[in-house]
């Protein structure tokens, strides 16, 4: 069957997609809260003030959450999914937990989706935690990416959390992903 094509999220997505607590997978005061944040930049290096970032992740034990509640958060259930809009300075942020490895020896990552005005279809990428160089060195995806582009997939530790900048275009363009069944949709 032919997949329905995507279209841009447009300039007015706040109306339909924003809700209270969307970027707080855990409350900001949670003792193990991680601030995952960054900027979205266009091909001229200008911040993108009308982008939407979604993350989807395992919990710290590496379990994939199967619980509802991302739209009406109860403050206790970790659903593993959140959404953030960039501000006027192109900055987004999430309050979340660190994802764990889903299998021993796997590098933990956030699955990331990017939407924006001006972007005609959504983009997929990953944000890896930077801490274990051995795991990253043996990761199937990172190994398959040109060495000079790997860093675009790895968040940086900073004193207040982890930073993952997204560059839609240009010299340090983020590596965006596609999957076999999406390629089918192009056949």
């Amino acid at each position: 069957m032919s997949a329905v094509p995507g279209q841009t999220v447009g300039p007015f997505f706040h109306l339909g997609l924003e809700y209270d607590g969307m970027n707080e997978l855990v409350p900001p005061g949670h003792p193990r809260a991680l601030r995952l944040h960054g900027h979205v930049y266009d091909g001229a290096g200008a911040p993108v003030p009308d982008a939407v970032i979604e993350i989807w992740q395992a919990d710290p034990q590496g379990h994939i959450p199967r619980q509802p509640g991302s739209l009406r958060r109860d403050g206790w259930t970790f659903t593993g999914w959140g959404r953030a809009a960039t501000g006027p300075d192109g900055h987004y942020q999430f309050t979340t937990l660190e994802p764990g490895a889903t299998e021993p020896g796997k590098a933990p990552f956030f699955a990331v989706t990017v939407f924006a005005r001006g972007l005609l279809d959504r983009l997929f990428t990953r944000a890896y935690l930077p801490d274990d160089p051995d795991l990253l060195a043996n990761d199937t995806l990172l190994e398959s990416v040109a060495p000079d582009r790997r860093a675009t997939l790895i968040a940086r530790r900073v004193p207040d959390g982890a930073v993952f900048d997204i560059r839609l275009q240009g010299d340090d363009e983020t590596v965006f992903l596609t999957y076999p069944r999406l390629r089918d949709a192009w056949a």
Partner: protein, 249 residues
């Protein structure tokens, strides 16, 4: 210098000479805002792993039933043509996507969004916000009641107008099926002029975004009806794997 509609039409025609397949061309200069906002490197092909094989779960805790009626969110009745839009969300193999979230947003009947950035001097409707949410049923069916949105001007080029549309945000059964798109109405005269719609250069593919008028969805003395089925890409997880992993979880 600002482009005219004739300039954009020429660019649309030129781009159509190099068909880009059934998805939008993300490198599509007739849509001016896309020029600096599309990746130039090809997407990197991988087999999905871990969370990428699963989609977030939404449920009745997340969405109230009345969120699927955009006409009852205020004290009064919104102005415009009352419509019902319904259809099924299916995966690329034709299986229904059940119990999954559908989000919609749109302009009012006059073509005005309830959004600070919309400066189109058409009236707001105090009785219409233009936002709805719903969950699909066991057979993938979604259904909502709303007002038919109007077309509206934008600043891509001089005298640019968007065909009337409703924005849809849809999740599948795995992460890779995530879709944000726009549903259009049949016979819109603005289709050939709109670079966002025309960014899908395969005519058969872009027609998949057009709802069909369905008299069986229309109800007497109340509203007209449109049907729009949404086929996602294929899931990367086989039902057998999902059963096993669900039990193990």
């Amino acid at each position: 210098m600002e482009s005219s509609q004739a300039d954009i039409n020429r660019e649309i025609e030129a781009a159509a000479q190099q068909p880009g397949g059934p998805q939008p061309k993300i490198d599509y200069a007739p849509y001016r805002s896309s020029i600096l906002r599309h990746p130039k490197q090809p997407a990197h092909l991988i087999d999905p792993e871990a969370v990428e094989l699963w989609a977030p779960v939404f449920g009745h805790r997340d969405v109230a039933d009345d969120e699927a009626d955009l006409t009852i969110q205020h004290a009064g009745t919104p102005l415009g043509e009352r419509i019902v839009v319904t259809g099924r969300v299916l995966d690329g193999d034709g299986r229904p996507v059940a119990d999954q979230l559908v989000e919609v947003w749109q302009a009012n009947a006059a073509g005005r969004y309830r959004h600070q950035r919309d400066q189109h001097p058409a009236p707001h409707d105090p009785n219409f916000t233009g936002v709805g949410r719903m969950l699909t049923g066991p057979d993938g069916t979604y259904r909502f009641q709303t007002i038919k949105p109007g077309p509206y001007p934008w600043r891509n080029h001089v005298n640019a107008w968007r065909p009337a549309h409703i924005h849809f945000s849809i999740f599948g059964t795995d992460f890779t099926q995530r879709l944000v798109t726009q549903m259009y109405f049949p016979g819109d005269p603005l289709f050939p002029l709109d670079p966002i719609y025309q960014s899908i250069t395969d005519p058969k593919a872009r027609e998949l975004l057009i709802a069909q008028y369905d008299h069986d969805v229309t109800t007497p003395e109340w509203s007209t009806g449109y049907r729009w089925d949404i086929v996602l890409t294929g899931t990367h997880r086989t039902p057998l794997e999902s059963d096993t992993e669900e039990e193990a979880a």
